[in-house]
Amino acid sequence: MSDHPSSTPGLHVDEHTIQEMHHHIRRYLIVGVALAIGTGLTVWASLINFGSREINIVVALIIASGKAFLVAGFFMHLISEKKMIYAVLAFTAFFFTGLLFLTLWSMAHDSIIQIRV
């Protein structure tokens, strides 16, 4: 097991890269702890009666969205990604929103999508 940074031919590792990675590692560990706390928070919030189940659902989805932001933003590096990736995700967001909209629309009573019997 060799762990000398300069021992791999064909890979250029300079001091700047090492410092940058150490910075990344600290961030990953903080995000990991935040995600674990968020998980505990989700369970705790689900066991509390906020007055209506709808509020419980909203609270759980807000916490889940926060956790998803941490994973996508930091682990998947989306907070500092290239424009082309953002473009792909913008299209995805557009179609995903459309899918959700269609779902909600289909549940409306006067919807033309709803099958009448």
Partner: protein
């Protein structure tokens, strides 16, 4: 002829081929799981009042699996960062933990699935309903033994909202001749179990495939590190992106199926 931008990023986009490929694939995955989440919303909203189950799943097992997946996501990025610093041994250690986490996740999920397949709702000819786990040792050709409870037919909501705490009760012994129907909590039992098995099954398949890919890069394909380290780092990054997406899906599946 060498394929351009297979390792080095294209100057105008700043991306190598596989990274564009994995993001396009993940975009399609968002739509796949998005469609299933929409199905869940439709089923749940349209379920008759009081018939959507709560606490049918063990919250603590679900929470453990969530923590396991989060830990695996952390070890994936730590492994990638180790490779960027040229520390192959550290990478091997972190990705080894990732693979172990994947196996733990699948093991817990298998245990949960088994729990549902031995959980039965028994409808008796006299209208009574018994609900509980089959006791194989005491079940014979003449009687069915359950570890569970009787459901008050005037309080059917108890079937869909079982208490969180289990109290010790003696086994329920039912003569087979008294049974009208008997069904386990498989996908066929309820729309909830149908969507539960569908979504977690598809997610579990992703965990399995992700673990196989990570293992392949970690083990049999590790020699690429010596030949072309940048290509190897790219492979680890791409497989890591897929793994984080799997974690991301579970972050929503856990509250939706276990808690709400």
């Amino acid at each position: 002829m060498e394929i351009p931008y297979a390792v080095k990023p294209r100057p105008d986009t700043g991306l190598y081929n596989a990274k564009v490929g994995i993001w396009l694939f993940l975009a399609s995955e968002v739509m796949l799981f998005g469609a299933l989440f929409c199905s869940y919303i439709l089923m749940r909203v349209n379920a008759p009042e009081g018939t959507w189950p709560h606490h049918w799943l063990n919250i603590w097992l679900g929470m453990t699996n969530t923590i396991v997946l989060i830990l695996s996501s952390v070890t994936v990025v730590l492994g990638w960062a180790s490779l960027k610093m040229g520390k192959f041994g550290h990478y091997k250690f972190y990705q080894g933990i990732t693979i172990l986490c994947a196996l733990i996740f699948l093991g817990i999920k298998s245990f949960e699935y088994r729990d549902k397949f031995i959980h039965y709702q028994v409808n008796l000819k006299d209208g009574r309903i018994a609900d509980g786990h089959l006791i194989k040792a005491e079940t014979t050709t003449n009687v069915v033994a359950l570890e569970g409870r009787w459901i008050d037919t005037n309080k059917m909501e108890e079937l869909y909202n079982p208490p969180l705490e289990h109290s010790e009760t003696p086994p329920i012994i039912i003569p087979r001749s008294d049974i009208k129907t008997m069904e386990n909590y498989g996908p066929w039992h309820h729309t909830y179990t149908a969507i539960y098995f569908c979504m977690t099954g598809l997610h579990g398949l992703h965990v399995l495939i992700g673990a196989i890919v990570i293992f392949a890069i970690w083990g049999p394909l590790a020699k690429v590190w010596e030949q072309d380290p940048e290509r190897y780092i790219n492979r680890v990054e791409v497989s890591g992106l897929f793994w984080h997406f799997v974690d991301l899906v579970w972050i929503f599946l856990f509250p939706v199926l276990y808690l709400l």
